[in-house]
């Protein structure tokens, strides 16, 4: 179980606030909106890929939610641009926890952590 000071550490709060790569892309190769029915949070991800569709060239996201969901997609967006699609497709909770410097996440917050990654993976899936 996380200590509250881990969950709401400065870096997480800052990532949620700064919303890296937040916005809309003019000509996206794919987009996907993931909705969390438990809390109403929604994250929409747009991506641009390399011509051979193997590298993520750009990512923009939109949506509103709790600190964890916002920090997770904000941080994730920073690291996936320039990465191979295959690498990102293999991401799981482990990578997200690492990005947020968390050891674990309570079961009730797993969906918050995963929301952005789920949207991204589905956006990637529909480009293939």
């Amino acid at each position: 179980m996380n200590d509250l000071s881990d969950l709401y550490q400065e870096e997480i709060l800052a990532a949620a606030k700064e919303k890296h790569n937040f916005g809309v892309m003019a000509k996206a190769d794919a987009q996907f909106s993931q909705h969390n029915t438990a809390c109403g949070d929604k994250i929409a991800v747009q991506i641009k890929l390399s011509q051979d569709k193997t590298i993520i060239k750009d990512l923009k996201w939109q949506g509103d939610g709790c600190v964890i969901s916002q920090a997770s997609i904000s941080k994730l967006s920073q690291v996936v641009i320039g990465k191979p699609v295959a690498t990102v497709n293999a991401y799981s909770e482990k990578e997200l926890l690492k990005l947020l410097r968390l050891k674990s996440i309570a079961p009730g917050r797993e969906h918050c952590l995963q929301l952005g990654l789920q949207a991204l993976k589905k956006a990637l899936a529909i480009t293939i």
Binding site: M1, L4, L7, Y8, L13, T37, A38, C39, G40, D41, D64, G65, C66, V67, I68, R109, C112
Partner: protein, 433 residues
């Protein structure tokens, strides 16, 4: 101090004794004493309920009806006596009680057992925009199956179901079924049943000349208000036993006896126990109304547990329970509205036992902080609340609330728990400053 004295004096039951009946309340969470304010989701269970179920399993367990041996007789007796006690608690006859797992199953029972057979294409099912998904999705599905149409009643500015809108919609003469929350799980608002029933009696006749049937979702009402099914004037009443101190997986559906006797309400689960004669071509159903709606082996232990919970609440007196709850809601509203970042949603006053306006819970928005983050921080202080949309997505969407935080109460909560909530909310500001 005067406030506390007057409050305790008004209570007819021994508050310390009550808290002692719930061992879970002595738990620590994150090193802090547990303050459990998530009662709208499920209540805690008193030792009396836990002990009664343990006694059933350690002394009497056997299948009902079918055995010719002492344990089976004892189990059958426990089942029948429990049904009687539960029915009496709700002011119903034992034959009118169908035991289910929860309110959702009960509402589905009305859909499959009554609506699917009785509603015709073009008829209207009226529900409202504040309903729990279980009183929303069920009717959308019935509409798909029967060709009936679902219409939604609007809400008033105070967050109550708009009964003027009901009057307007009834005047079309097409309404076949009205299914509404007795108390809103998201806003705590209490529906004015007296007016609701009077309006339906006065205006509501469908093309065939019969008045529309009324279903009440009593999940958030039954734990807090006295329910007298014989006098309510409604046809179906659904509630969850687990929210009123009973075991998980216990719920009730009350159906007016006339609807059962006429066969208008039909069984929707089939199998052993509920039949009279089984042939290769046709099967007739049990004449005994209770058995007709009890397919397969029943959950006797849960029935025993729920009956014990009903007895526990009857001893306290449901009027006293209601008074206690209204007092807590009043105090919570008064306290929360003093925090500048907080916006209270739903009725701003609790009302009285005879005219309750808001009961069971207080829901709010915290400016600039998502409800999940509020709840997480409160949890770190030992305060358990619910955050999210509370299975009321249409209500949240209409009001553009992303997610809300709900503190909900039971008989074992005190003003000290609300004080703990207020103090814990200060930490939200600290973390997000």
């Amino acid at each position: 101090m005067t406030r506390y004295i007057s409050w305790y004096n008004r209570l007819m039951f021994d508050f310390k004794q009550i808290q002692g009946d719930f061992p879970i309340l002595k738990r620590q969470v994150h090193g802090k004493p547990l303050v459990y304010l998530d009662n709208s989701a499920t209540s805690q269970k008193p030792l009396q309920v836990i002990d009664a179920m343990r006694d059933y399993y350690t002394q009497h367990n056997a299948n009902v009806h079918r055995g010719v041996h002492l344990l089976s007789d004892e189990s059958t007796l426990a089942w029948e006596q429990s049904r009687k006690t539960i029915a009496e608690f709700f002011g119903a006859q034992a034959e009118e009680l169908i035991l289910t797992r929860n309110t959702t199953e009960s509402l589905n029972g009305v859909a499959y057992g009554w609506a699917d057979h009785q509603l015709r294409a073009g008829e209207v099912i009226l529900t409202s925009l504040l309903e729990h998904h279980s009183n929303f999705v069920v009717w959308q599905q019935v509409a798909r199956r029967t060709g009936a149409r679902v219409e939604y009643l609007h809400l008033t500015e105070t967050g109550h179901i708009d009964l003027d809108d009901l009057e307007t919609k009834l005047s079309t003469g097409k309404v076949g079924l009205i299914s509404l929350a007795h108390v809103s799980n998201a806003l705590g608002s209490v529906t004015d049943l007296e007016r609701l029933v009077a309006l339906v009696k006065a205006h509501g006749s469908t093309g065939g000349g019969t008045r529309p049937k009324i279903v009440l979702d009593g999940a958030q009402a039954a734990p807090h208000l006295p329910v007298d099914f014989a006098k309510l004037g409604v046809d179906f009443y659904a509630a969850s036993g687990h929210k009123l101190l009973g075991p998980m997986g216990s719920g009730i559906l009350l159906v007016k006896k006339a609807l059962l006797e006429s066969g208008e309400m039909q069984p929707w689960f089939f199998g052993g126990g509920m039949i009279a004669e089984v042939g290769t071509k046709t099967t007739t159903f049990n004449e005994n109304l209770a058995d007709r709606f009890t397919p397969g082996t029943p959950d006797v232990a849960s029935a025993v547990g729920l009956a014990t919970a009903c007895t526990y609440l009857t001893k306290l007196g449901m009027k006293q329970v209601a008074a206690h709850d209204l007092e807590l809601v009043t105090y919570a509203l008064e306290q929360l509205q003093q925090i500048p970042e907080i916006t209270i949603l739903g009725p701003s006053e609790a009302g009285s036992v005879t005219k309750p306006k808001r009961i069971g819970s207080v829901t709010f928005l915290y400016q600039g902080v998502h409800a999940h983050d509020v709840a997480q921080i409160l949890d770190s202080e030992g305060v358990a609340v619910r955050s999210g949309q509370h299975c009321t997505m249409p209500l949240h969407t209409q009001n553009q609330w992303l997610a809300t935080t709900r503190a909900s109460f039971q008989i074992y909560n005190s003003k000290a728990d609300i004080d703990a909530l207020i103090l814990a909310l200060a930490k939200v500001k600290k973390v997000f400053n």
